[in-house]
């Protein structure tokens, strides 16, 4: 399936959000995940299926300022 991750189109095997995170080697604690502009709760990462054409955003924490 074709999924857009952080603006880039990628060909991925079907799966849930957690599986996509693992595939991309992203620690789920390091990101907020948005699926089609909707935040996916951390406890829903496995229960949320990614479908063809979906847009995923992995928002990494950025804590600096000084």
């Amino acid at each position: 399936m074709q999924v857009t991750i952080n603006g880039k189109s990628e060909d991925l095997q079907a799966g849930n959000v957690m599986e996509v995170l693992k595939h991309k080697e992203v620690d789920p604690h390091m990101v907020a995940v948005e699926l089609n502009t909707q935040i996916v709760e951390r406890d829903q990462l496995e229960a949320t299926q990614v479908k063809d054409g979906d847009k995923l955003e992995f928002l990494f924490f950025m804590g600096g300022g000084r």
């Binding site: 080697e25 620690d27 604690h29 390091m30 990101v31 502009t37 924490f61 600096g64 300022g65 000084r66």
Partner: protein, 275 residues
């Protein structure tokens, strides 16, 4: 309040803009902006807002200027090393524009003082360097009903977005709570290219001016991420989260509190993800 001839000259390039004009410049000169942190982000914010003629700039920072700050914290100059950051900042702001009233607080921004500090102001700017403080600022602005311009920087990247409490997505709508301690490094640990603080801080100042003037499209419900290596901006659309513990339908956070300060520790190599 009317402008002196000097002020008309000083602000002439603003006044020329139909979106600003004399009326808008008056709004700017009556506005009060509170800047939390007089460092990397706070520097461009304070300098540009001062030049723009903001009526009152409030600054809070408990730190003194360190030599390692000078690479990006352009409010502070070499002879300021060892000096209180807020006092160093006040001197520069007043040198740029003596019209600006500067209120300084050489203190930490805490759950105890947050609301009292921001209540007299119109807008709050996040220029802090740690997650507990970023969440505290977000929550305080929600309870005090103050627009907030969030900013974050790390390495070659930066992020900025505006929050109108109860109307647009807040920081907690998206990020919930600070990451586990040690997982995400700070600038102190991971480094920061100085100019990114300038870019993100200048956008924060722009947002503050737009909110004051009531012009344009505010950077709400969209997160703007900047990558200096690619020289690319990316906009991520977002919206209020009904499950947000602060501003959602069933809020669990009913008063200010501070998340525990993260322990300084680099995340383990190999866990860095997509770019």
């Amino acid at each position: 309040m009317s402008f002196t001839e000097d002020q008309i000259t000083r602000y002439s390039r603003h006044i020329l803009l139909p979106e600003v004009g004399g009326k808008g410049q008056k709004k700017i000169s009556q506005a009060k902006v509170f800047v939390v942190g007089a460092g990397g982000l706070g520097s461009p914010v304070a300098l540009y807002l001062a030049a723009a003629g903001i009526g009152t700039i409030g600054l809070i920072d408990s730190d003194v200027v360190d030599m390692s700050n000078l690479q990006r914290q352009v409010l502070h100059h070499t002879p300021d090393v060892g000096r209180s950051k807020v006092l160093s900042a006040k001197a520069k702001i007043q040198a740029i524009n003596p019209d600006v009233k500067v209120e300084t607080h050489e203190a930490r921004f805490t759950a105890e003082n947050a609301l009292e500090l921001i209540t007299p102001y119109d807008i709050v700017i996040d220029g802090v360097d740690n997650f507990p403080a970023k969440f505290l600022i977000n929550d305080a602005c929600y309870f005090a009903d103050k627009p907030l311009v969030h900013g974050g920087i790390l390495r070659f990247e930066g992020r900025v977005f505006s929050i109108i409490p109860k109307k647009s997505a807040c920081y907690r709508c998206i990020f919930k709570e600070p990451p586990p301690p040690g997982l995400v490094p700070s600038c102190q640990e991971a480094g920061i290219i100085g100019v990114v603080a300038g870019i993100i801080g200048t956008i924060q100042a722009t947002e503050a001016l737009k909110i004051i003037l009531g012009i344009g499209q505010p950077l709400t419900d969209r997160i703007l991420d900047f990558d200096a290596q690619k020289t690319a901006f990316r906009e991520i659309k977002t919206k209020r989260n009904p499950k947000c513990k602060l501003c959602g339908d069933n809020p669990e956070i009913t008063k200010l509190f501070e998340h525990e300060q993260e322990v300084c520790q680099l995340r383990t190599p190999g866990t860095v993800g997509v770019t």
